[in-house]
Symmetry: C2
Subunit: 80 residues, 2 copies
Amino acid sequence: MKAKVHVTLKAGVLDPQGKAVHHALEALGFDGVQGVRQGKYIELDIAETDPVKARPAVEEMCRKLLANTVIENFAIDFEG
Amino acid sequence: MKAKVHVTLKAGVLDPQGKAVHHALEALGFDGVQGVRQGKYIELDIAETDPVKARPAVEEMCRKLLANTVIENFAIDFEG
């Protein structure tokens, strides 16, 4: 089964990477972009096939390694 | 409206970052992870409110800046 993890900066946390992308888009002539936030997207192939059983382990992975929960949120979806 | 862009490595392209995450998860004692692929997740706040009208512009942004289409795929979703 696939676990799809999104790690995004919490609201209020500065995002210099997103800001750089925003400036670059403007420099390329793309108007109408009001803001950019950049996060991480991680796909895990896991042996467990039951999302209910898999969720606690994947949440633990997020808390221990994938996300810095002081400044980042994470969201988990399962597929397949 | 929000445009949510996922940029992922194409199949067959080596992903050292994902491999590092995989090793780290194993070192932390997480069994049952068979593979890890890491990508980027970008949220764009755009002025356009019609997804049909917005898509060509966002695709252009992906091709010109957000994704390296030689080695990466991108997917776009709209929300709000």
